[in-house]
């Protein structure tokens, strides 16, 4: 039996750059308006868009504008010295009034409902967190943000957030003033009914993951960003998954996970947290290469590529088909 869903390319939206601002040293913030003047589709905190910079250059950036104003979208882009070209292109080539093609917003970092939140941002990792703060505040949730960076000059939106929510909720920790984020102090005492949302460089997230091993399973949600793009790594295309035990081939669309796609056609997969944390849905890879997005596997296991967590991980860029032991 083969089930093949119709191919759905992500919706492409033509935009005009309304303004390019510089909210911090090395950070460009693009404000985009739809070319046809209409509103953007609804999106939720944690979402990102693809920027189609050139035919070869597509980069993902998290949205940081208010979710209740769909007339514009805002992204923040850090210029990185070791840039593979994406951030440099944004900084050097994009100007107000220019045209830019983007994808419709997609969300791999959704804010799961909870009573309390702890937000951790490192540098430009603040961008997906900003709409989360507003959502948590609007719903009257208890929350705190710890926002670390090299110096206040380099920390986009730091002053704005402190003004908007107050220094009690928004803790700005600039390394040149008060050192790095003290993760032992922040995460050493797990709290009940509190989820941790962290976005920042790999080193910081690795330390956060280690501390959160002492938290309830499933408490931590992270988004990792590569050197010059924020959020999801390579593959943003749909891909095929062949389920070797079931004998089914299915198509995983960009807006669904392998787990969801398998469940949709009635294939049973044991899962628990559905967030890449608990390891319950670990599945053996028979062939193909995975892009690991979970926090359960060690780096060595990810590199070995024998297994994957199907609740969050996907096919790697350039791998159009995974064969899994399901």
């Amino acid at each position: 039996m083969t089930i093949t869903a119709p191919i759905q390319a992500p919706a492409i939206i033509d935009t005009v750059i309304d303004a390019v601002e510089h909210p911090a040293d090395g950070v460009a913030s693009l404000i985009l308006r739809r070319a046809d003047g209409s509103d953007f589709p609804q999106w939720a905190p944690g979402s990102h868009i693809d920027l189609y910079l050139t035919d070869e250059l597509t980069r993902q950036y998290s949205l940081c504008s208010p979710t209740d104003d769909l007339s514009t979208l805002r992204v923040g882009v850090l210029r990185t010295p070791d840039s593979r070209g994406g951030s440099a292109w944004v900084h050097d080539q994009l100007r107000a009034g220019g045209e830019l093609r983007i994808s419709a917003p997609r969300n791999n970092f959704p804010l799961v409902d909870s009573r309390k939140y702890l937000f951790l941002a490192g540098g430009i990792g603040i961008t997906p967190i900003i709409p989360m703060l507003r959502a948590a505040e609007a719903q009257g949730k208890e929350w705190t943000l710890y926002y670390g960076g090299r110096s206040r000059d380099t920390m986009a939106f730091a002053q704005q957030l402190e003004d908007e929510f107050g220094a009690q909720k928004v803790r700005i920790i600039a390394e040149d003033e008060s050192g790095r984020l003290d993760l032992q102090q922040i995460l050493g005492m797990p709290r009940a009914h509190m989820l941790v949302y962290a976005c920042g460089p790999g080193g910081m997230l690795g330390a956060v993951e280690d501390f959160c091993m002492g938290w309830p399973p499933g408490a931590l949600h992270t988004e990792r960003f590569a050197a010059d793009n924020l959020g999801v790594g390579g593959n943003t295309e749909p891909f095929e998954v062949q389920l070797a035990l079931t004998g089914t081939t299915l198509r995983v669309e960009t807006n669904q996970t392998i787990l969801e796609a398998a469940e949709e056609v009635g294939v049973r997969v044991l899962s628990s947290c559905r967030a890449g944390l608990c390891g319950t849905c670990e599945t053996r890879i028979i062939s193909g290469e995975a892009e690991h997005r979970d926090a359960a596997l060690s780096q060595a296991d990810k590199d070995a590529g024998d297994v994957m967590m199907v609740c969050v991980s996907r096919a790697a860029a350039g791998c159009s088909k995974l064969v899994l032991e399901l």
Binding site: G214, A300, V307
Partner: protein, 399 residues
């Protein structure tokens, strides 16, 4: 100030032998009294609704573990042993949990499939030559004790103390009744043997035990904490898994169609295990201590009182699982059951237990065509664990 009269009063004793031997009619009456009720026999509050149990398990600030999992507050009365990870709150718990999670995770557990498989093959090959056997004595009690201490890296000698020690640890989560006293009859001998096995010099180089001790060298935990963590593995990792295997087969021996389906699709074994664990959860109940005045299920709970959390009742609550909650349903998604707990103290060894159960069941499925009960199963009389002393089955070998 509110008083206990606000809660419905339940007069049956949950530690009465009749309620232990056949727990489910008792649990149904308990749930019928209300999701939260006052237990006259113990002076604690019974939590029996799924939603309320889930809340107690996930709100570790309001429902503290540091008072111990038994009926007495171990911070006021002297405990029979130094508190374990299970009997601690953050931040002490946090250090120990990080150390354990760093050692036991999908990567380290996956590597166990290789060494864990041959003993299961050997055991099931022998059993398949018979017309029948006792699931508990001939299989469940044999397998984990063979593979798990190897994974921890404890010496061969002294392993006979692990089961009696686990029996002590879990029975102490109930009152000091005659069941408790029987378990503790030779407490000193068992305790000394297990504590010896937890020392750094007793442990082999590559096991989980040595990896926990390595965290001491990294300065992350103290020597005493390392000892206690290895002790936690040894006391929590053997009999719960034995009961898990026995309970799963007690269910499947009554489900010939499911057995046949599993033989066709052995990769579905883990779902059958999950549903069986929901229905016959090895760890049925334990206590927590209310740390601040609170309300649960419409009932006021004063600070300092003990709540008795009935995992086994939550896992059969019709409000969560539907009107057939008392039935094994292979089509049901058992996800969300609390057989391994939930939240901060959720069983760290869960992936190991699931691996052991899956390997044993798959090996048995390969060699056994049919399995049916040969005589009524004999329930074990235990304060908090549910399992069987004996479970005779008749089998036909696969051709």
């Amino acid at each position: 100030m509110s008083t206990t009269t606000q809660a419905p009063v339940f007069r049956e004793d949950p530690f009465d032998v009749a309620a232990i031997a056949d727990p489910y009619p008792f649990l149904e009456r308990l749930r019928a009294a209300g999701p939260v009720s006052y237990l006259e026999a113990t002076g604690s509050y019974a939590i029996s609704g799924y939603e309320e149990v889930y809340e107690v398990l996930t709100d570790f600030e309001t429902y503290s573990s540091a008072g111990g999992l038994g009926p007495r507050d171990i911070r006021k009365d002297e405990a029979w042993r130094p508190p374990s990870i299970l009997e601690s709150d953050p931040p002490i718990h946090t250090l120990m949990r990080r150390a354990l999670t760093g050692v036991i995770n999908p990567g380290t557990v996956r590597a166990l499939r290789g060494p864990f498989t041959p003993p299961a093959v050997e055991l099931t090959e022998q059993l398949a030559t018979l017309q029948g056997f006792d699931v508990v004595k001939d299989l469940a009690e044999k397998y984990p004790i063979r593979v798990f201490p190897d994974a921890v890296g404890t010496p061969e000698e002294g392993r006979e103390h692990l089961l009696p020690y686990g029996n002590m640890v879990f029975n102490a989560f109930g009152p000091e009744n005659y069941i408790f006293q029987q378990a503790f009859a030779e407490a000193d001998v068992h305790t000394a043997a297990v504590m010896h096995a937890c020392q750094r010099e007793s442990l082999s180089e590559n096991g989980f035990g040595a990896k926990i001790w390595a965290r001491v060298e990294d300065g992350l935990i103290t020597e005493q904490q390392a000892t206690l963590l290895v002790r936690a593995l040894l006391s929590a990792g053997v009999d719960t898994t034995i009961f898990g295997i026995g309970n799963t087969l007690s269910v499947l021996a009554r489900e010939p169609e499911v057995w046949a389906e599993l033989r066709r699709q052995p990769n579905l074994a883990k779902f059958a295990i999950d549903e069986a664990l929901r229905l016959e959860s090895p760890f049925q109940k334990f206590h927590r201590t209310v740390s601040v005045d609170t309300e649960l299920g419409g009932v006021h709970l004063p600070a300092g009182t003990k709540v008795l959390v009935f995992l086994g009742a939550a896992n059969r609550d019709p409000n969560k699982w539907g009107p057939d909650a008392d039935k094994f349903s292979f089509d049901r998604s058992s996800s969300g059951h609390v057989a391994f707990g939930m939240g901060l103290h959720q069983c760290v060894g869960q992936p190991i237990a699931r691996l052991e159960m899956e390997i044993v069941l798959q090996q048995l499925l390969e060699r056994v065509e049919t399995i049916t009960p040969a005589a009524p199963a004999v329930p074990i009389i235990h304060n908090v664990l549910r399992g069987f002393e004996s479970l005779p089955v008749t089998i036909t070998a696969a051709r």
